[in-house]
Amino acid sequence: MWALRPRKRPKPPDRRVCSKMALIQVDHITKVYDLGGVKVNALNDVSVTIEQKEFVAIMGPSGSGKSTFMNILGCLDQPSSGEYLLEGEAVSKLSGDQLAEIRNKRIGFVFQGFNLLSRTSAVENVELPMLYNGRPAKDRRERALLALKAVGLEGRDHHHPNQLSGGEQQRVAIARAIVNDSSIILADEPTGNLDTKTSFEIMNLFVRLNQESHITIVLVTHESDIAKFSQRIIRFLDGKIISDQAAPK
């Protein structure tokens, strides 16, 4: 259903010996925050592998390190130690601008608070990531409209965020996340601000994107109802993974 998806992506060079490369491979990462002399271990020796086309839910209480983990997965933050390989590429050695390029091309973010630009129409919000990879304006508009259509917002492209409901705003954010053909969507409590019915609609959209467009989805949630939509649930506690199992069906 996400029509632009079947574009051929050049395979990143395989620098690793292993035959099958994981999409996300996290090896023994730690993250230490220094809060006024007190060292806080937000992540403590975390190792996870996420394959392509997986739909993973991350659960855990506040302060368990799941947000820090998501920030590292999203290349917004770097681990204090350990290795993070994204499609075989060691992310921890990259510069800020190289990380920005990875976020632009390979990762789509969906936030709890939507994080759309106010005073900017839906279609222009969706165009935003394409502004930073040099696509011509006409191409941008075309792809943005297609992405809006893919999330079921056809015809609402010139509405501003304050004219859209919460669910519609989250759809705009999802359209923005997929418009650059990203292979991963990282969603941080995407249904946290939505009612149950809308939450399920959004989750169904994620499931469709995962199954039809083969986009890998990693999602943080508190609610087991929401986690049920995924295939695999990873639980965090005190900066460590305490369980990693298939989602109950």
Binding site: L76, G96, R103, N115, L117, L128, G134, A137, R176
Partner: protein, 409 residues
């Protein structure tokens, strides 16, 4: 990297959101650029006025005046002794290589009468070369000839003001006027020249052959005495050489020893005028410098507003970074915003400054000169101010941590 048209579009949108604020920020630039343009126009006007006066006086001009006499230890005023003669003038032309032409002069105030009209003016006895030396052309008739100078013919060239006062609509050429009761034939009219740098009206004059002035109008104590000698140097560079040569020659001719005061004085008018012009230049620079202080204040205003804008839009910056904006994408966006503010302000300032100074100049009677250079300078300076004062806020924006920026409320 973001392309510039998209960045400009984003910036324009951001500026439109806060119209009042953007307008007030621009006002700082508008006032600054207006002040610079107006001040440069005032200075440019002063320069052009002096330039016109130099041109009307004649270029590369040196004036030799007789010196002060000393009578029983009392020194009299300059020009009281009749020390210069026609022969001096001829000698200068003959033996000073840096001199192109000379025109001796002898004159005085006299009443000029035409029919029932009369007018008091300065009658100047001189030679035909005066027209060349003072870059003065005729608007009608012909100049007098060397022959007429030799024979002390009673012919006259009238200045425009004299013509206006005596003749009205009548064509003066060929008419007879009386100067000190002696009939003169008008053979030509001098082209209008306007005021001299000293403020006299140069058109209020009559030229007659110097011999006529000496013999018939203003009888002289010695034959061949002249009141002044105007000298044109060959080139501007030859002015000081000419001055030197003339001084040497006249000292020799007047038998003045090395330690004695000369009985004449040599004045290089062109260099005096040039000094005046460079004074006007200095004034222009000074005025411009003072005005550019307000431009600087305008620039600081832009920086101030941009810093506020960066803080307000922290979350927007975080979103942009999360979707892949690089360091320079963020910087460029804020720099472009600052440059748009400063260039808009600058352009409006140039318009207001140009129109304003022309209108003011018209009412106060000062020639305002707006040079393309000052316009381009203001425009370029505005752009530079935008880049300079926009850079720090843009730099701050680009250093934001995307995680914290996204959490910013």
């Amino acid at each position: 990297m973001i392309n510039i048209p998209s960045a400009v579009k984003i910036s324009l949108r951001a500026l439109r959101v806060n119209k009042m604020r953007s307008g007030l920020t621009m006002l700082g630039m508008i006032i600054g650029v207006t002040a610079v343009i107006a001040m440069l126009a005032v200075g440019g006007g002063a320069k052009s006025m002096i330039g016109n006066q130099i041109a009307s006086m004649g270029s590369n001009l040196i004036i030799i005046l007789p010196g002060a006499s000393t009578s029983g230890g009392v020194r009299m005023s300059s020009g009281t002794t009749p020390t210069l003669s026609m022969k001096d003038a001829e000698a200068i032309l003959k033996s000073c290589p840096a001199v192109a032409d000379v025109a001796p002069g002898l004159g005085g105030v006299a009443q000029v009468v035409y029919r029932h009209q009369n007018w008091s003016t300065f009658v100047n006895g001189t030679t035909p070369s005066v027209l060349d030396i003072r870059d003065w052309s005729l608007s009608a008739g012909r100049p007098f000839t060397d022959q007429e100078v030799k024979t002390a013919a009673t012919v006259a060239l009238l200045g425009q003001m004299v013509v206006d006062n005596l003749f009205g609509d009548v064509d003066p050429v060929g008419q007879i006027v009386r100067i000190k009761g002696i009939p003169f034939q008008v053979i030509g009219v001098l082209a209008a020249k306007g005021q001299s740098i000293m403020g006299q009206d140069q058109d209020d004059t009559v030229f007659v052959p110097i011999t006529t002035a000496q013999r018939k109008l203003f009888g002289t104590a010695f034959p061949g005495m002249v009141r002044a000698i105007a000298v044109k140097a060959k080139t501007e560079d030859a002015l000081s050489d000419a001055e030197e040569q003339i001084t040497q020659l006249l000292k020799q001719r007047h038998h003045i020893g090395p330690n004695q005061d000369a009985d004449f004085s040599v004045r290089n008018l062109t260099s005096m005028m040039e000094a005046a012009q460079s004074a006007a230049n200095t004034m222009t620079i000074l005025l411009g410098a003072i005005a550019s202080v307000s431009l600087l204040v305008g620039g600081i205003g832009i920086m101030n507003i941009m810093l506020v804008s960066v803080t307000e839009r922290t979350r927007e910056i975080g979103i942009r970074m999360a979707v892949g904006a690089k360091t320079w994408d963020i910087r460029l966006q804020f720099i472009i915003e600052a440059v748009i503010l400063s260039l808009f302000g600058g352009t409006i300032g140039i318009l207001v400054g140009s129109i304003g100074s022309k209108v003011t100049g018209y009412f106060i009677g000062w020639p305002m000169v707006i040079s393309p250079l000052s316009v381009m300078l203001s425009f370029g300076f505005s752009a530079l101010i935008g880049i300079f004062f926009g850079f720090y806020p843009a730099y701050k924006a680009s250093l934001l941590n995307p995680i914290e920026a996204l959490r910013y409320e």
